[in-house]
């Protein structure tokens, strides 16, 4: 099992190199098939690691540089069940994106698929690594591949603008993250996550550690597109190439939240233990704000892809609330929500991107409309889907730490995002020309919606135990640094998930449907006017704010970062 740990990175990276070498002589079909086979192989390898890590993290030291006397010398992969699960899910989403890419990436097939493979390799490495600088480098590899894919349609100014905004804002976030890593290295002389955590716990939390925590948190929140850092995401989701947006909605922005949880639990949790309250407060408040703002704007903006962009923003906010609870159950809920919600968002993007084909008027096909409607119901919280389960687990963990207001806030957000997607489905049903160009898209979208249902039942059995293992910092450190056996009673015993009843969820779905009907009476959805509500003052103000100005985006990063730094420094001192 240990020997296969690096393979989820090696296989896609090697295949990308092959595609670049032979791309000019390979027929497009062969290049596409090779890429998809590599993606599925990565998925299978990562799934094998999920199984292999059930008794504790699988540790792999590159070059055999194992720790000496409990001090890490080399670079390691430390694979736990949640990390391997994230790598598996990344494989599924990137495969789905590649399957729907036939219409978007018509030429340069080998090059675009090579970029998708480097992105997948980076995601896998990101999920499996046990080293903080490795985490940064994999993040940058993932981001640079994504920047390139975002700028694929060089004929469109909007697409270029989105890519510029994406690259510059994310790079600023990455540099903040790197400064935090450098400060931690300066304090502990270590880059291994477990080693930093162990060394930090030895001394008290001082100014330097607080600065490191804030720069790392802000850097990752920028990449997670949390309000007010979300402008790049709205631009990319509206104008970037479709397969990239499938990946972005499916997993890419989720991974930043995953990294925040990983770094918190391995590095900061042992040291902070007593005063993690202020960090928890900031994360939960920012997450809930993002969930609500994104959800409200998804009902207001015009254009189906823009609606989806704000649904993505809202979802990452809900995930941040789950992670921000800083409890195992919060992480378990976020994991279920990330998989089910990610699959649903990817399905919505795939359907929306393929719906508007004006060239071949024909009768509307039921397929995409039904799919979109199902996605809308899933987002609103129909108990059949994993989104409802994940959300209710997050709400319950919020209540456990004494924040009962989280439940109504998240339910409101899910009602709004569900209604927004249902309105897209309504517009598609009224659009006589709506049809899916490629049957592949319909099949992939159906499978993604199915995945959201499967996640509900498959994940709920093991995710609580995996989350308990995820937060067992001390046990993790002993496995990584001392080669001990993993000892975490909760993780081994397995724990049930706290959930709330299905009645609330059903009421939420009913409210979402009512909201759609009411909005439709106010302003009927037509073909030309997809999901436009506030063409008036509010709508215009929102549009002006999100007009893709790069300077504005970075200005908001600066303002938000300053606010977080000041709040954390004041409350932790």
């Amino acid at each position: 099992m240990h020997s296969i740990a690096p393979l989820p990175v090696v296989v896609p990276l090697g295949t990308a190199a092959l595609l670049l070498m032979f791309g000019t002589v390979l027929p497009d079909r062969a290049a596409r098939a090779l890429a998809i086979v590599a993606m599925l192989t990565e998925t299978a390898l990562a799934a094998a690691l999920v199984r292999g890590a059930r008794a504790g993290p699988v540790i792999y030291w590159f070059g055999g540089w194992t720790p000496r006397h409990g001090v890490a010398i080399g670079v390691s992969f430390a694979v736990d069940r949640l990390g391997a699960g994230a790598a598996t899910f990344a494989g599924l989403i990137v495969t789905a994106a590649a399957l729907t890419a036939a219409h978007s990436f018509k030429d340069r097939v080998a090059l675009t698929h090579a970029l998708m493979l480097t992105m997948l390799a980076a995601m896998a490495g990101f999920c499996l690594t046990g080293d903080i600088f490795n985490l940064f480098v994999f993040y940058e590899l993932m981001a640079v591949s994504a920047f390139g894919l975002a700028a694929y349609s060089t004929a469109q100014v909007t697409s270029l603008r989105a890519a510029l905004n994406f690259a510059i804002t994310n790079s600023v976030g990455a540099f903040l993250f790197l400064i935090g890593i450098a400060l931690l290295y300066g304090r502990t002389g270590a880059l291994n996550l477990a080693q930093i955590g162990r060394d930090l716990a030895k001394s008290h939390v001082d100014g330097l550690v607080i600065v490191a925590i804030t720069t790392i948190t802000v850097g990752l929140l920028v990449k997670a597109a949390i309000v007010p850092f979300h402008f790049w995401l709205v631009d990319v989701a509206s104008w970037g190439s479709l397969p990239l947006v499938v990946v972005l909605g499916g997993i890419l922005d989720t991974l930043a939240v995953y990294a925040l949880a990983r770094v918190y639990w391995t590095v900061f949790a042992p040291a902070l233990a007593a005063h993690d309250g202020s960090l928890r407060g900031i994360l939960i408040v920012m997450g809930a704000t993002t969930a609500l703002v994104g959800a409200a704007l998804s009902l207001i903006v015009r254009g189906a892809r823009r609606v989806v962009a704000f649904v993505m923003v809202s979802h990452t906010g809900t995930l941040l609330v789950g992670i921000g609870c800083l409890t195992a159950f919060g992480i378990a809920g976020a994991a279920i929500y990330a998989v089910a919600g990610g699959a649903i968002k990817a399905a919505v993007v795939a359907c929306v991107g393929e719906l508007d084909d004006d060239r071949q008027p024909t009768r509307p096909l039921a397929g995409p409309i039904v799919l979109l409607a199902l996605c809308g119901l899933a987002l609103a919280g129909l108990p059949l889907f994993g989104t409802a389960l994940g959300e209710s687990v997050i709400e319950r963990s919020g209540a456990t730490i004494g924040d009962a207001w989280i439940a109504p806030a998240l339910i409101l957000a899910s009602v709004f995002t569900g209604a927004a997607v249902l309105r897209i489905a309504l517009a598609a049903a009224r659009n006589r020309e709506a049809r899916l160009r490629a049957p592949a898209v319909a099949i992939v979208a159906t499978m993604l919606v199915g995945l959201a249902i499967v996640a509900r039942f498959a994940l709920s059995r093991w995710v609580a135990g995996a989350a308990a293992a995820f937060v067992a910092s001390t046990a993790y450190g002993r496995v990584v640094l001392n080669g001990a056996k993993f000892a975490s009673p909760a993780a081994v015993r397995g724990v049930g998930l706290p959930t709330s009843g299905a009645v609330t969820d059903l009421i939420a779905v009913a409210v979402a449907l009512g909201l759609v009907a009411w909005l439709d009476m106010l302003r009927p959805m037509t073909r030309r006017r997809t999901a436009e509500l506030g063409g008036t003052t509010v709508g215009n103000a929102v549009r002006r704010l999100h007009n893709g100005s790069l300077g504005d985006s970075v200005a908001w990063v600066t303002v938000g970062a300053t606010a977080i730094v000041v709040t954390l420094a004041m409350s932790m001192h």
Binding site: F147, L164, S171, G548, S549, L550
Partner: protein
């Protein structure tokens, strides 16, 4: 340990951010991003610096001699590679934008739909 490199790093970070926010030229904006990144080089090298220490190459210096930290130098090098990639990619996008709009002013990209 002196505070000077950290003050320089904060200065570079803020100057670069100010440049990105206010710039009216895309190439200038990309260079400002490189300035922000320069702050990370300064932080990294400052952390690994030891006063009076030699370069960490033990071929021609005695094994007991103090050397500066080679790990941060490796980190900086990786950081430079990341920076070069991002800058090259951004400049390529800027060239394309100039081809489409005939302008390098970010305002001209702004309201395009």
């Amino acid at each position: 340990m002196t505070l000077l490199p950290y003050i320089v790093a904060i200065w570079l970070l803020l100057a670069g951010l100010y440049g990105i926010v206010t710039s009216r030229n895309l190439v200038h904006q990309v260079v400002c991003l490189a300035v922000v990144q320069a702050s990370t080089y300064v932080v990294l090298l400052a952390i690994g610096y030891r006063a009076g220490a030699a370069a960490p190459v033990y071929l021609d210096i005695p094994a007991k001699r103090t050397a500066v930290d080679p790990v941060v130098q490796a980190l900086s090098l990786t950081d430079v590679v990341v920076g070069a990639t991002v800058t090259a990619l951004l400049l390529a996008i800027v060239v394309q934008a100039h081809k489409r709009t005939g302008s390098l002013d970010p305002e001209d990209l702004r309201d395009a739909y």
